[in-house]
Symmetry: C2
Subunit: 597 residues, 2 copies
Amino acid sequence: MGSSYRAPLEDMRFALYDVLGAEQLFAKLGFDDASRDVLDAILQEAARFTETVLAPLNEIGDREGCTFDKATGDVRTPRGFREAYEKFVDVGWSGLVSPVEFGGQGMPHLAGLPLKEMIDAANLAWGNFPLLSHGATEALLHHGEAWQQDAFLKPIVEGRWTGTMCLTEPHCGTDLGLLKTRAQPREDGSFDITGTKIFITAGEHDFTENIVHLVLARLPDAPAGSKGISLFIVPKMRVDRDGAMGERNAVRCGALEHKMGIHGSATCVINFDGAQGYLIGAPNKGLMAMFTMMNTARLAVGLQGLGLSDRALQNAVRYSRDRLQMRSLTGAKFPDKPADPIIVHPDVRRMLLTCKALVEGGRVLGYHGASLVDVAHHAKDAGDRQQAEALLGFLTPIVKACLTEWGVECTYHALQCFGGHGYIAEHGMEQLARDARITTLYEGTTGIQALDLMGRKVMQQQAVGLQVFLGMIEEFCNAHANDESLAEFIAPLRAKAAEWQALTMQVGQRAVADADEVGAAAYDYLFYSGYVALAYWWARSVAAADASSQSAAFKAGKRETARFYFARLLPRTAMHAQAIASGAGALMAMPAERFGD
Amino acid sequence: MGSSYRAPLEDMRFALYDVLGAEQLFAKLGFDDASRDVLDAILQEAARFTETVLAPLNEIGDREGCTFDKATGDVRTPRGFREAYEKFVDVGWSGLVSPVEFGGQGMPHLAGLPLKEMIDAANLAWGNFPLLSHGATEALLHHGEAWQQDAFLKPIVEGRWTGTMCLTEPHCGTDLGLLKTRAQPREDGSFDITGTKIFITAGEHDFTENIVHLVLARLPDAPAGSKGISLFIVPKMRVDRDGAMGERNAVRCGALEHKMGIHGSATCVINFDGAQGYLIGAPNKGLMAMFTMMNTARLAVGLQGLGLSDRALQNAVRYSRDRLQMRSLTGAKFPDKPADPIIVHPDVRRMLLTCKALVEGGRVLGYHGASLVDVAHHAKDAGDRQQAEALLGFLTPIVKACLTEWGVECTYHALQCFGGHGYIAEHGMEQLARDARITTLYEGTTGIQALDLMGRKVMQQQAVGLQVFLGMIEEFCNAHANDESLAEFIAPLRAKAAEWQALTMQVGQRAVADADEVGAAAYDYLFYSGYVALAYWWARSVAAADASSQSAAFKAGKRETARFYFARLLPRTAMHAQAIASGAGALMAMPAERFGD
């Protein structure tokens, strides 16, 4: 059986068109081809593909997993995965948001988001294969020389090859300054790459004839630490400067990891044994090159959390309407049935509405983040670009951490609605929970997102992104200051925005005296920020729905969910604010040895 | 590799002797054999058994799982499980807390708790086999006729047979009033039992020659709903009234469930096909008989959450002291190493201290609950027994729900400390997370615990248990009113106790007008209660440590953890209080069809 998935096209369109004004935005940014007709066609086709091709493979992927042939180093993906990839490429989706000159369709980044969300919801493990190609695409696009783009970028955009990001080593993940993989110059200008990388997603598979690894390594004369890391292109099959594919490179999968979930995704140990590679970007600037693609990669992982949350919610709603158990406390609602469906019970509604508020609000939050990528790259005005860049940098760790932690939370609630049946593989709910668990770990753990927000975006960059966002909130509140129907949301939103500002100042001041205050506040500050941001998007969603041509039921649904959010989830900010206010003392007092044996 | 486990004997002794005064309590209740020497010997031997026998089998159990032979209906447990059970029985632990007259050791219930916690931490899946025997023991003890006790109770206490509880059917779990299994009287006074039960833990296995199922079923003339359910003893191998074991009964395992975790635990579909059974207790009073064992069963599942939390914490602490990654924000703490151990980072400490505060505080909370079972049964004074019974009823859903939800939370944090490595099976952290996930589902979901607390213990019983607990808090606060060293805890504790009282009144008043207010407040009320209860136990722990002969380091550790708890976790009450105050409106407004397709 497993869980099922239906693409939430109505709410996606609402987020895109009614809340975020995607049509007007794309026109303003010069994306002439991204008309509503085109976008709707993409949505329709994406729904068909993900619902009928990818979703049915989700359970198979979990059960079969990828298999590793120790003798050859080959990896076989689960039944049907390869064929699904071929269909994906045939439709042209590998290049949907890539530039036309490299064989892409040149659509805005935001236009690719609903497809991305649907893929993640339908089959997260499968989705990691094209996702990693996207990372490689960006690296090559922004840092590749012309010949490298011709030789490597085009085949990836066309889907003929896939890409990977090879960062982590056994002793270093977060702290890449410690990495040991070496690059030795050859006489022909290329390099011998030697070292072992772990946790390489899509590192080896049977989808394509070649795989392009982007590998962080050290040049012989490199400075120690993070300032001595360079980025290299290391293909599985050797490729010369004319783009011709040659024989096998000295790159080999050494093992597959056994994981809690995403079994269909190949998580590889990759050994480079004097493999031929090409330097991409400037020497010793590899980490900076990685940073350019970090925002989109992190937003993408956030979308994974969102997709899983939505799928989990859909199944929990269906189950809660079907499962008969006990009577409503206010008297039987379906006296002709042996019991009432569990959706009549307040506590089941609490779980479902929590998911609904986080999913629909999170969708706008995530899509808005993606729209900033387009603005930052394509706005005509340099000031607009700069402002979008600042806001994007500020929101990216919030989107990544919140959507993934909410993914864990929503898959938890949804499973809980099934009672003991949720724990049984047959219903597919436990797979969603296991799959969701990776998202708060990879592409920077939640703690790392929090530190990026608090340390870099708030402290180092004086919270310039926050000021932009607070400006948006103020503008919205002012525009609706006399709107009776929104007053219930505007007042608390204004109060929270003021408190957000004050908390930011408070931590900033304390951090001057003690750098640990930054780390001590980071986690709670990030979630405080996320919940206030979501309050803003929920208030705007109600306003957008009311102003739209949506049905009365749709408008009522938005308002009811927003009310639930303000009544039941926004209070989480009180807990985070108190934790922030308590400072670093309670965290730092205990000596390491006293934590336990 | 997997995760490791070391029994926390020092903290267990602290909880038992210094905080809860177990020695004095046992003496007062007339347990003359439960001296400190005896208890310490049990602790030592339990630590040895669980650390060296059970813990190493934990990973094997997960990997191998139980296997089902469709042809015979037999279930094989994982390698080593059966031998471990034999050792367990040889030591006499199957009867540790059972009465001497039935072959038990007659120890108080509380004295069995540390052993229980160690078993759950070492090997949750294995622990379910003896746990289910304990449930059957209680049913037979309180409701069995003399011949039933001789025939069935003795072999279970001696560990020669095991027991099960057969409640759930495919269409009913929480709502047992819907159950369909039938009992047809035979001429000899026994019954033919026919029906299908699911989710039967330890329903079939290779540990013992017989299994005693306690089965809920309906007599032919039974009233509809929950008032027409009777309890029956249905052994796998037939047993006559003299206790002689005969041929195979018509009881058969139909399938094993494939679960998210506790793979080593046999979760069976059990088919009764006219199997011979004996009525236990009065006809149509089966649910009431089940209720008598509910408190201890729920406390026991709470302990499972506690055990897993502790094991997860232990491994996360070790990893966080070993794993080198980045420098402290306040400058290198170990400049001679390539990076600092991650335990220097505030956010890692946040996760570890959260677990530590919930584990050590939760241990006292859980053990205290267990001590009430002893008082309720053995206190000389009827008023004392009654008061303990009321407090036990009030605290049981809190202990069950909090310790299990905290188990999910702590295994989450501990895995998170490992970063991506936590997601890999090799480290064993993901197994702990998967195993913990069942505990908030079985023996009544968290939502059901909340409803039991709010509906039954607060509304129906006028919160009499709460008043007892508030009395304990007040007594403690008054006794330490002039104690400067405790002032930082006493003041907020007093404030929270007053708020607890006020919130209870508030919900009670609203519920008079609208019964859905009970369900709407239940979840948040339960956790509000849990965090205030934990604040009390943390304040008492600091007081108890200071008054004890523990080392200065131990005392400092308790104070530091208590401070963390008050600064960082007690603020969760603010969120719960706001959610309670918001009422049922936001939960109940949306029509069922609007939740989604």
